[in-house]
Symmetry: C2
Subunit: 348 residues, 2 copies
Amino acid sequence: MELNESDIPALARGCAVLGTGGGGDVRVGALAATRAIREHGPVRVVRIQDLADDELIVPLSGIGAPTVSHEMPHGEAEAHRIVEEVEKIFGRRPAAIMSSEIGGSNGVAPVAWAAQLGLPLLDADAMGRAFPEVQMVSMYVKGLPADLVIMADVVGNVTTIRPVDGLWSERIARAVCVAAGSSALMADYVLTAARARGAVIEGTIGRALRIGRHQVLEALQEELGAIRLITGKLTDIERRTEGGFVRGSATIEGTGADRGRGLLLELQNENLVAIEDGEVRAMVPDLIAVVDTETAAAIQTEALRYGQRVTVLAWACDPIWRTARGLEVAGPRAFGYDLEYRPVGAGA
Amino acid sequence: MELNESDIPALARGCAVLGTGGGGDVRVGALAATRAIREHGPVRVVRIQDLADDELIVPLSGIGAPTVSHEMPHGEAEAHRIVEEVEKIFGRRPAAIMSSEIGGSNGVAPVAWAAQLGLPLLDADAMGRAFPEVQMVSMYVKGLPADLVIMADVVGNVTTIRPVDGLWSERIARAVCVAAGSSALMADYVLTAARARGAVIEGTIGRALRIGRHQVLEALQEELGAIRLITGKLTDIERRTEGGFVRGSATIEGTGADRGRGLLLELQNENLVAIEDGEVRAMVPDLIAVVDTETAAAIQTEALRYGQRVTVLAWACDPIWRTARGLEVAGPRAFGYDLEYRPVGAGA
């Protein structure tokens, strides 16, 4: 597979859906990807089986508050600096880069970095969605030691963290990110193809493209296997930025067939919990997307506005997040909600 | 020269004087040094001319709030982890370690790290005193690019920063330090002997030992070439910890011949400015020490208590700090004081 300029709009739309509100503004990643393809040509997409066992994969993502990364897209220089650091540490050039997070801008921007670096992009990511914290990646859930984080900021600083575990990688990386103006490009783990096998979520670039090609709500819903939580109007939205995170809530009042009902969304970069009449209808790590009812385009957290006509969809996360370890890392309690996880659509 | 267990009390006393209140509790460094010498034997002290041009010197110091490092001395593991990282980056083992900061605990603790690592200690440091920020080192004043900081915390995390300059090294290192519980061991720069020449302050281990052997105020004053700002009683002390720093002030009321006079000290980890009747009598980068009038032992910021009978001494800093660049890096304006630097004792 090859990604051309004409694929970027669909990829961006798909990544917005999978971002469940977060992962950074997809327009930023899409713009960077389009420009980079124009300058450097299309990006080859590879699978793990295309790589030799000891070839290196660098999972990349932007880290920071969406409110900041919105204004500060990561440039070519940061990607090159991270790859240079990888070469210093491992003594060889990586064979591919990977999106750490298929959701949001972080799902699209790797196309730009791959084009700029002249490297292929792996058809995989480490979340199958978006998550706000560094350790919320499939490699960590699978028990690969979180032993290396490399960060590059727009100023030119490069910071390499050898953390004792994933929670410390988040803690230190977040501090470095905030010090660097709440925005940095990050390699979280550097994987050989052998280590990546079974430890990343494969096929998610292709999945985002398929999702993004749907422009009708019903078709999108079917592609996702989603349930419709509500169709209505956004009546209340509250957001604040705290320590590099966006937190807040949104309220949707039902219209049409849903008149008289209401849904509350709890946000922390992503849409985390959907509550109706005091009852939780969907919760992290399952995916919750707010989409424009007319166009089936996802609306990211930062773009939520009073009066928007929206439908809220919810669907199952990758099975890795439903394991005991997955729920420990990114279940409702990891986000401070005292809730027992119940798969979306499982009934009351 | 060799440092034995019996040298540590004098070294610690000298480092307390040169710490101008800061640099961490000397008792912590002294305890670690004594234990390490008992276990590993004496520490050889070398000069730059004893090293080959391409041999590596690792300047080490604890970074953090004195209130924290007081309780968390840095162990052997952190020193070993930093040296391992140096070996990974440079492909060879360092030939010596150096104190980044002769003042306070950071002047004594390197004896422990040298003993634990089985490496000699360079008779030099990078301040000739204590300073609170990472970039306030002679190498930075001399224009060596601040291109490498390695940090190790008590948990086991190792962070390597390749900053664009000294101010970014401070900013990122401080953030990492705060994330790690406001305490970490740090290598700021790694120097070849050739680069160290002229870029470090030589002879400061020997100087601290000579200073620390004086137990009479007049003799100490003569050794330092200090002027006596006041002899009196500590009547007011205010301290608070902010973002890894201790800030505050202390007031000394004159007694005996100084009755009727008063001195205000402004603190930021170190004693920074001494003011009498609205007139600045001494200011950073010159050194200001509060010493016990009876024993001539320096009293560090954290140990200042109401009612102590003290004498405040002030004396000239190393000439490097009086250069235009030195004053830019660590003059009064670098600490937020809108004061024109005037050398101590220069008159009104």
